[in-house]
């Protein structure tokens, strides 16, 4: 929280974003189902602009799972998901979504778009959805994203997104209005630009706002039904303007004396609120970048033609969403991003969460550590479960990071 005065802009922005974020929650989906309205479910977020242009409500099952890990009953549900026989080393957030599906917690959708990105457990989820008997009669569209990053692959995946859009049109009976899609895409471009601007502002020393703002901005501008909505653009503009003011006044995060700047190279863990807050308060160590506080750059959607738009969607997802980019990319992509962000955000250290579920990255970790150290950058790899604190508690992770800062000479 950053407070300039009693009735401060950041409080207002938080209240508004809390309201917008509700659109991602399971409760909103249940409400829609109760009213007998048509809605879609997915386990990817490759075509968010299309959903919004259709005005078709949709939700992401992995997002349901991720959010549920922060709920009071989370540990019980995680254990139950393990009892289902899903591999224990799979991502717990996705496992939770799979359990919620099998347990009948998720309402039956009108249509499903499922696929293979960004990782193997999402593919497993697609299999589970496909074989889930109560949803056997739900029309499904399968996406198959290429690992290759060539232009040809982007055109190929863009065509798949176009076919998926046609599928949604057919099932929902709503015709996709290309002008509306263009309008939403152009507004989404502005939103991505503002996210990038926010990242630039965060690079100021001291950093003007804490990590929670990037998370909120990503949730409401890249997920859910408000992508390309001018309300979100206005929210981002006000956040950027308020942050600019803090940079001008050389204000850091309220109540924190910034001593160390580190990047958390992973998703923000469920324990993030405890862990990052404690690191900042006790050690003056501020978290600068993660898979939500990413800032892009996002490929601008080229609205010059229908094909250009859909190819841009493919690029925006496969090249720009950090988890898809890294899980389906090469070691070079992985390390290039570390070096770029480390320098631009003026970080002192790299902390890799090493989520146990990110198996597709396992083969790279040793190499990443060697290469990053070769450049003289302090790095630690934790190996926690981002969604289940019992695997490694916030206190244990705190201790590891604190010791790392001490031995690296960053904390004296």
């Amino acid at each position: 929280m950053n407070s300039d005065n009693k009735d401060n802009i950041f409080d207002r922005l938080k209240t508004e974003s809390d309201e917008y974020t509700k659109a991602l929650f399971l409760e909103t989906c249940i409400e829609k189902a109760k009213n007998g309205e048509k809605f879609g479910l997915t386990n990817e977020d490759t075509m968010t602009e299309v959903h919004c242009a259709l005005g078709l409500p949709y939700w992401s099952i992995p997002v349901f799972g991720g959010i549920m890990t922060a709920m009071p009953q989370a540990f019980d549900l995680i254990d139950k998901s393990k009892e289902m026989g899903i591999g224990s080393m799979g991502c717990t957030g996705v496992k939770m979504g799979m359990y919620m599906l099998e347990a009948g917690m998720i309402p039956k959708p009108t249509m499903l778009v499922i696929g293979n990105t960004p990782c193997d457990i999402v593919s497993s989820m697609s299999e589970l959805i496909n074989n889930y008997k109560p949803w056997a009669d739900v029309p499904k569209f399968f996406m198959s994203a290429p690992h290759d990053k060539s232009e040809e692959s982007m055109v190929y995946f863009g065509k798949q997104i176009r076919e998926a859009a046609a599928f949604l049109e057919e099932i929902s009976g709503i015709k996709l209005d290309m002008d509306k899609l263009r309008q939403i895409s152009e507004e989404a471009n502005k939103q991505c630009q503002l996210m990038l601007e926010l990242q630039v502002l965060k690079s100021a020393v001291p950093t003007p706002i804490d990590w929670t703002w990037g998370r909120t901005a990503t949730r409401i501008s890249r997920w859910g039904p408000r992508i390309g909505d001018p309300i979100i653009t206005d929210w981002l503009e006000r956040l950027v303007s308020a942050t600019e003011k803090r940079v001008k006044e050389k204000k850091g995060i309220d109540g924190i004396t910034e001593k160390i700047r580190f990047m958390w190279y992973d998703m923000i863990p469920t324990m993030g609120d405890k862990l990052f807050t404690r690191l900042a308060k006790e050690l003056g160590a501020v978290e600068m970048s993660d898979y939500y506080n990413w800032g892009g750059p996002w490929t601008p959607i080229d609205t010059s033609s229908e094909e250009a738009m859909f190819t841009s969607f493919a690029k925006r997802y496969l090249n720009d969403v950090p988890m898809a980019k890294h899980a389906m990319g090469t070691l070079q992509t992985f390390t290039d991003d570390i070096f770029r962000i480390y320098k631009e955000l003026k970080c002192d250290a790299v902390v890799m969460g090493l989520n146990i579920g990110h198996k597709e990255q396992n083969a790279m970790h040793g190499a990443v550590q060697d290469i990053v150290r070769e450049r003289g950058i302090p790095i630690i790899q934790i190996g926690c479960d981002l969604w289940d604190e019992r695997y490694m508690s916030a206190d244990q992770v705190f201790d590891k990071i604190k010791t790392f800062f001490e031995v690296s000479g960053l904390l004296t």
């Binding site: 020393v205 750059p297 320098k343 631009e344």
Partner: protein
Amino acid sequence: MSVFDTYVNKISEYVEGMKAKERRVTVFNVSFSSAQIKDNLPFKVGPDANPGIILRQDTYVELGNPEAGSCAFILSTDNPSLIRNGRITLIGPDIPESSGKSLPFGQVLIFGGAGLDDKEHESLQQSCFVGDSIEGYMIRSLPQNVWSRVSKNVAEKGFDFECLGKALMSVYKSCNSKIESMEIVFVASGKEDVKLLDEISAQVQKISREIVKENWKIKGYDIDCEFDCSSCADKPVCDDIREVLKEKRKKTITNTKY
């Protein structure tokens, strides 16, 4: 001979093409000597010369914003005759006349040096971080792009593309001693022109990726394992191994007695 020599020539052809299209082309010839270049500039160049960030309201001109269009890449050659040492070519308007604008931006840095072999190319890409080295010039190096801002303060002091070129020459010269000559091409004439440059960039990136792959292989890492067997050059080897294993298994099964 460097693998990029063809592309150094392609850049010359590109510039000629722009002239043929009657784009405004301005050429500056400067002396490529680190000390001299730095001395004549009306702003600081060097580590931490621009420690802060340039806010939107303090920006005189923005270059290569992702929305406006951007493309940036480097070329290197061990053939000095291909480089017009110290030449800065600008296609399009200059900075002083672009107040308040967001210009599309293309930037090609061409390095020459006897020691600049293909392996050195990766090092050239990674060793220099221009980021905060030029006063009043904030740069965000996006992959294959450059997005930057020129502050109102330095614009008042006369910051233009010639100055920017000199500053970049100074920064690169000081961070890699193998650079003996350097030429720069800036494109700010339009999105279409930057897009054309991007087509050359795509080819250069492909070669750069191959070089990077080879460099990683030397370190013992295969960074780009093929997932598709049908497109893998090693498929015949794997097929042979499979056949051998199949035969071995057959023998094992035949010899197994229950």
